[in-house]
Chain length 331, copies 2
Amino acid sequence: MKIEHITLVRTPEGVPLESDFAPGYGSLGALADGEALVRVHALSLDPYLRSAMSGRHLSAAIQPGDVVRGEGWVEVLESRHPRMAVGTHWVAACGWRSAALLDRAAIDAARPIASAIEPRTLALGGLGMPGLTAWAGFHRMCEAKTSETLVVSAASGAVGATVGQLARIAGCRVLGIAGGPEKCAWVQNVAKFDACIDYRQRDLRSVLRELAPNGVDIYFDNVGGDVLQAVSEQLALRARVVLCGLMANYNGPPAPGPNPGLWIKARATVRGLVVYDHWAHFDTMVQELLSHHRADRLHFREELHQGLHAAPAAFCRLMRGENQGKVVVRL
Amino acid sequence: MKIEHITLVRTPEGVPLESDFAPGYGSLGALADGEALVRVHALSLDPYLRSAMSGRHLSAAIQPGDVVRGEGWVEVLESRHPRMAVGTHWVAACGWRSAALLDRAAIDAARPIASAIEPRTLALGGLGMPGLTAWAGFHRMCEAKTSETLVVSAASGAVGATVGQLARIAGCRVLGIAGGPEKCAWVQNVAKFDACIDYRQRDLRSVLRELAPNGVDIYFDNVGGDVLQAVSEQLALRARVVLCGLMANYNGPPAPGPNPGLWIKARATVRGLVVYDHWAHFDTMVQELLSHHRADRLHFREELHQGLHAAPAAFCRLMRGENQGKVVVRL
């Protein structure tokens, strides 16, 4: 069976370019026992893929010549594995392909898309891995109390937007940090954070001092770099910091962190979050977020691109920080 | 009343020099209501004073022209405050003076030296503020479990040595990091750590990989800088890091910390420790450490210097990392 796919041509230097990728054609062999043939309906584009392209992610490296890895929403066309019935919909590691053969390991790791999830692309974002990241980080690590001030960076992203909305629902004062007026407007007007700071337009340190004069109780960090340093300078006593993402580092070599004296001074508790540790809570997360979503308290934002060929440009846009919400490629 | 004292002549640049200090004479006025006149028996020299000399410590800055601040073991000669009886012994903020007038605030903050503490200089070190730092850091922040591997830097220092010995008593495998063969010998042979790494002689990263092949479960950091980075590269899953001291930074400007990705990868919990938060546990600490000390399970090491005039050289030696144990100046 002939399929379309996208390969990585070279390891990106810095911010990826479209020319680091190439479309092409492959073929799928016959279905072996324990495998399933799936059609790919949509791809999830996630920043962690950039780290994997540099061999710096927990998951395996994506190397030149490889079809780009990644999860997608798939539908089962043929199956020789009891877990996957024909016609069912899943999130699975299909790669950047129009169709894929899933092996036993991929099938074991796949998650069925609950029928309540509509549109199904939400299973890639707000009700998928980014949703679980936000849910676990907020509920299992932030120790948030009513009226505390929570700051979250990449506030319009799939993780950040949900963290902030969960915090708002929990009665926190929520400040977002994002780049550009369009993102900030969405965060304030739709996600209804108390404020969103455009770090490109304003001096983050002085705005934080103004908006959080008594200090930041909780900082949920999706970016690292100077934003992490700046917020660490403004922490309240007994602050909690969740280290979740390193967007500022993904395109370059590992960068140093903030001066540890800031965390000593604040008696901060800093925790590293990896979503893989929290899969056991997946169904709880979906239930809770869906119920908020239906009650119009929680909004998801997707940036949809059309066609497999659009994936490289969409990924580069994501890695330049230009995306507006969760980036999904519909096939 | 005429007294001897030591003033700070200039703010040190980098590692302090003896010439940054000057001996001199001062006088004490008449005893006002609520004050006490004390004789100083010994001074405690602590690294935090260096930060205070640069105005970077939580406590007030020590500025050129000031008599150097600091705690000491004092004996009450005259008293107009009900808390301090003549002839009793205390740890109080006397400064680098042969005798001092303590005001109400200093008397409120002073701690009586329990009669069980012998010699009384231990109330400045192993059974004083550094002892509480170690006790609180270990018992309230490390969450140590039997057989876990704990690494502590500045392992022969007043805090590090006690942290490591408490960990050994609790059944941990304990690795120290210290500079120089003499310190390492004491840590291994007297404090009985499982090993002590001389970071000046050996490549810390490769020795850590060799001695902690399954990773470091707990890192108690007294130094910051590259040692913190190196140990962070070798953390086990769900490691705990206690940020306690920044010896590598005290002589210079604030330096960056480790790449946060290391802590994310390890799902580490990193906590900032300030001893002031733990005073309520002081008596518990003294009781526990004394009982271990009497049972010969816990050793304290003091480096005694004679005479107030010896304080500047002793402090410079401490800030060059050349001291062997808690630095105390006997008057």
